[in-house]
């Protein structure tokens, strides 16, 4: 590849560029913007290698330009600290380079294809082996194949799966490899239950879909081969006009095994050993040695902000318990789902300043705090905010108020951010108020506490909670009311395969209830429904024709469980 060449030439390079190269270049450019795979489709197989060359050349140039810019910014004035700040901007901001993606696919497929024996044989002591193979030897040979198979996948409806990307054109060979892959998985499963219990149910459907779709795909491929010769332009537009989603249609819902409930998942995760615990401990010790410096700088009017990968909660907690014990301080969990600036200000005025009474606006409240701090020079307050960039606090107004709060002379703010674009929250004026000193505190700690308010996708989604609340509410209702609800639930379950099911219309519902001797008039039904609605058990919406439709906003599995339980009770 011509990468070194591009780097050496540095300034300007004039060379002959054939039309195809230009075309492929254009196609590639657009592809990066939209979706790489599409662009790759548009380019014919023959020119693939050429394109690769082109790209790497461009990249070299780009990185060079980037370096110049960075140098102008004064990176050159950096000491070799080795905390990775020397990474050039090009590396950080380019997300998907073609090189990287194909390598990934190959790695994944290789992992999937190498059966369990090989794992047992050499234990893969050298990770370099996997890294090395795709880059050099395989590339030129396998590119064509890879390209073709990708095309097939795009046009057919087969699931888009990473490990199949490298699939050989021969379908029988493919299914073989597929089979061995799942074999290896089964082998592994016995070794370690923890990881695979979650995923064990997946293989059967996976195999089934693969088997079902492979023959038509092969036929299609032949057809495509003929069409491939048609003009490039057509293909280009075809690729770009199609809005088909390239992911597979398999979902977690379709898995046969039940998903774990929250608690078991939690327990399993807890049992999993934390990798690199020693190194992480060393990292946090490094950060802890800065505590006294932070105190000094806070007192000199700076505020401190922590960034970097990993949860910084433990670090701040340690700071709090070790240094702040003797002084008034306020801890704010920014990740708390219903935190507001008002609640922060309230806790300052009510609990720190012992003020009773409410304020009309946060600004007035801020003014009051300002006045109190000005009056009493000995008053001081440390404010620790975990996740200053959380959903609830990232708004412009809340940031403004927090910035003003932090600029008060007696208030010392120390906060952490995690979002990659968090610094965009602040304009120059706010930055001035905050007066940040940035500290990089990469900890690699898992975000356990911060994500505890979210539902895990792996666990059952709040199903148990909804079920218990359902039964709880219904138990307090009359027998008739329960019957009404059951009726609606049954009806909804009967229609669960109908995707365009709008809900049960009120008139039909009334009719059915009447027939079941549950209500005797329109009004009694409405009264019951109001009760349900107040407990958020049902929801209504108006259809296009103005008819009121009723439905239960609970997922089907929960509803089934509920009915089963009810039947037992009755």
């Amino acid at each position: 590849m011509s990468q070194p060449e591009g780097k050496v030439s540095g300034a300007l390079e004039v060379k002959f560029v054939p039309d195809e190269a230009v075309l492929s270049h254009i196609a590639d450019d657009a592809g990066i913007k939209v979706r790489k795979d599409k662009a790759q489709l548009a380019v014919s197989v023959k020119r693939f290698a050429k394109k690769l060359e082109n790209i790497s050349d461009d990249e070299a140039q780009e990185i060079l330009a980037e370096e110049n810019y960075v140098a102008a910014l004064g990176t050159c004035a950096q000491d070799p600290v080795g905390n990775g700040s020397g990474v050039s901007g090009g590396e950080v901001y380019s997300f998907q380079t073609p090189k990287c993606s194909s390598k990934m696919a190959e790695l994944a497929s290789e992992l999937a294809q190498t059966p369990g024996q090989s794992v047992a044989a050499d234990h893969f002591k050298c990770p370099e082996k996997t890294a090395k193979t795709p880059q050099s030897s395989k590339r030129s040979g396998s590119n064509k194949v890879q390209q073709r198979s990708k095309k097939k996948e795009f046009l057919s409806t087969t699931p888009y799966r990473l490990r199949k990307r490298l699939a050989a054109p021969d379908s029988c060979l493919e299914s073989e490899s597929e089979y061995s892959a799942s074999c290896s998985e089964e082998d592994d499963e016995e070794d370690q239950k923890e990881v695979s219990t979650v995923l064990s149910g997946q293989k059967t459907p996976a195999k089934a879909t693969a088997a079902a779709t492979s023959p038509p795909r092969n036929a299609l491929a032949k057809k495509i081969k003929e069409e491939k010769m048609s003009s490039l332009v057509e293909e280009y537009f075809e690729a770009h006009s199609s809005s088909k989603v390239l992911t597979s249609n398999r979902t977690l819902q379709k898995l046969q095994t039940r998903r774990l409930n929250q608690k078991t998942l939690h327990d399993l995760l807890k049992k999993a050993p934390l990798a690199y615990a020693a190194e992480m401990k060393k990292l946090s010790q490094q950060h802890e040695s800065l505590f006294s410096k932070w105190m000094l700088q806070l007192h000199l009017g700076f505020n401190i902000i922590l960034y970097g990968l990993g949860s910084k909660r433990d670090l701040l907690e340690k700071f709090r318990t070790s240094v702040l014990q003797d002084s008034a301080h306020l801890v704010v969990n920014g990740y708390f789902p219903s935190i507001t600036v008002r609640s922060i200000l309230n806790s300052i005025t009510e609990e720190v300043l012992d003020h009773i009474g409410s304020f009309r606006s946060p600004l007035g409240q801020l003014e009051f705090i300002h006045k109190r701090f000005k009056e009493d020079a000995s008053l001081e307050l440390y404010v620790l905010i975990h996740n200053l960039d959380s959903q609830m606090l990232r708004g412009e107004r809340s940031q403004q108020i927090l910035a003003q709060l932090s600029s008060l002379p007696g208030v010392y703010l120390i906060a952490s951010i995690d979002h990659i674009n968090a610094p965009l929250m602040w304009d120059q004026a706010k930055l001035r108020l905050y007066n940040w000193l940035w500290y990089e505190t990469t900890t690699f700690n898992p975000y356990v506490e911060e994500t505890s308010y979210e539902n895990s996708l792996l666990g059952q989604q709040s199903g148990s909670l909804a079920l218990s609340s359902l039964t709880h509410v219904l138990r307090s209702l009359t027998l008739n009311a329960r019957g009404i609800f059951r009726l609606l639930a049954r009806y909804q379950l009967e229609n669960k395969d109908n995707t365009s099911y709008p809900g049960l219309s009120f008139q039909d519902f009334y009719q059915q209830c009447r027939e079941a001797f549950l209500v005797n008039s329109d009004l009694t039904l409405r009264a019951q429904l109001t009760e349900f609605r107040d407990h958020k058990l049902i929801r209504t919406k108006r259809g296009a024709d103005g008819v009121e439709y009723l439905f239960i906003p609970v997922d089907d599995s929960t509803l089934t469980d509920f009915l089963e339980k009810e039947d037992e009770d009755v």
Binding site: H299, Q325, A328
Partner: protein, 670 residues
Amino acid sequence: MSTHSISKGCFVFKPPSKKRRVRQETASNSTERKNDSEDTELRFASCQSLWAQIKLETEKIQENLNKQLLDNLVSFLRRSHSEFQEKTTEWSCQMKSREIPTAALVLGVNVTDHDMTFKSLSEVLQDDITPYVALLEAKDCPGIKNLMQKLMGQLMNCCIDIDEDSFEDDSHVQVSQNKIRCSMTSLINWYKSVMKKTDSETTRKKRNSSSRHWQSPPVVVIFKDMESFTTKVLQDFIVISSHHIHELPLALIFGIATSPMIIHSLLPHSVSSLLCIELFQSLSCKEHLSTIIDKLLLTAWCPFKLGEKVLKVLINIFLYHDFSVQNFIKGFQLCIVEHFYSQPLSVLCCELVDAKKRVNTLSHNQCENIRRLPSFRRYVESQVSENQIALLTSDSFLKEVTQKLLEDLQLYHENYVSVLRCLHVFTSSLPKYPLGKQIRELHCACLENQVWETEEYESSLQLARMLNKSDLVTMLQQCVEIFVSSSGKEFDKTVEKLKEFLTQFQELEAEAFEEDVSVSSEKELQKKTDLYHLQKTLLELKESRRSKKLTKFEMLRFEVVDYIDSLVRNYLVPADHKTLYEVVYFNTASVLRGHLNAAPRTALHTALNNPYCYLKNQALKSDGGSISNKAPDICIAYKLHLECGRLINLVDWLEVSSSLASRKLTTWQG
């Protein structure tokens, strides 16, 4: 006392005992607790005092820079409503035009610095012109109603503040603003009542506090950030107030960050014609910075110095990021703090007199610290052997030497500044500015390495040798002034020498006449020639010029340039060649950069792509690009995430992860 709860996001902790300590004390304690090395308290104190001194100085500089602007504004405001004072007839006809006197204040893009300017502006106005000043910001005024509310709130509050101390019985002015309907009429009523009161007040007793104010002082409304106001609000406000201008002497001040054209693009002609605009330009932020650098860094009084890299980082942040002088000063403060925190010997970084005293009280540990300094080691090696032993063994001898060295350092700084300025006089007028236009660039170049070895210096000397006489003479005169005003004592001889050059140039002037005549006569001879002869004479001329011996002027010019060169070589030695420079120079630029100009994105990227940077485990060492099986789970997940496009199928994704993870597990076991 846990801070985890599912019902609450804020947790307040108060110290169990109610004893309150003074802030300073805790601060110094916190430094003391950790830092086991010497003299922390003293260092903290000298850091504080130095910073206080610098802060005072910068504020003074700022004040001086703004003085001109503020004076102009004040005189404008005085003029604007002078008609209002000289009752009735003249101004009534004037006011028919209904123009509101308006000052457009162009402040530049460094928005963060504006606050300071506005603060001093409103202070000056309240002192000299009127107690009624309102500062409005766009974010407080989304609609005309909010604007009026804010305006009246500020005006009436200030009025109440003033009234409170003078008399109590009058209550009808002190009605809270919430009860008044916020309209122009109520504002006018308020103004009239206030005026009446002050009238009666002044007749009853002399008030000395507001005697500087006029009989009916104007109401000044300042729009801090005019660009961010919505057009509608501004238009409405201007139209409404122009209707009432004959009852309420209003004056507006627009703070503008971009260019004065913005007024016309924001306001249609019908509205802008209601304003009588006068333009005021504040000093550009770059000039502001040069003044700060000039007064703060290139002086001998400030014992603390910035190293070359640090200065470059600060200047780059200024030029490429915010143009904010305030941020520059903040960076400077951080440098001071870092220096005093991290360098135990910074205790000697103070006035020379104090430093000498402190040297005497240094502990043994500190002496060892001195011996460990690289610059001091170099110094020791250059000494004769018995001196070396004495320096390394005897503390008292070391202290003596240290005192002398500190003195040298101080002297070096004094001389350095003068010579630097002198060199800058020469280089700043050369074409293409090989050594930079600003003195800060020259300063950086001199700090970086021996400036006379650089190419740029060479070329600027070449250019200097081609200067014409008048330029040269003026430059020499400037240099003489610099040396005369400098505090260095060594420069008497230099001044003499330079003066000598000047007189020589004057002598030359007389001789020059004669030469001119001879040259012209020579030219006349050549007048009539054919092509061949012309060529020949030209060749001859060229020959002669090559071998021609230099004129007296040229000789003298060479002499001058050589003299300047010798000065540079003598005095502009880079600081890190000086012994004990570590005591006063702060040069860890990476720390500064990390704290002020951090790159969270890079940190995340590195942590995810190359965890070895943080977790120093050999297993993680990889050549980059590929996914190592042994990387922490989050890194693997991130890479797989990159692999998928915008939409991720969790099932597929998890399957790949599990195949990677299972591989990982076997490797762990194996």
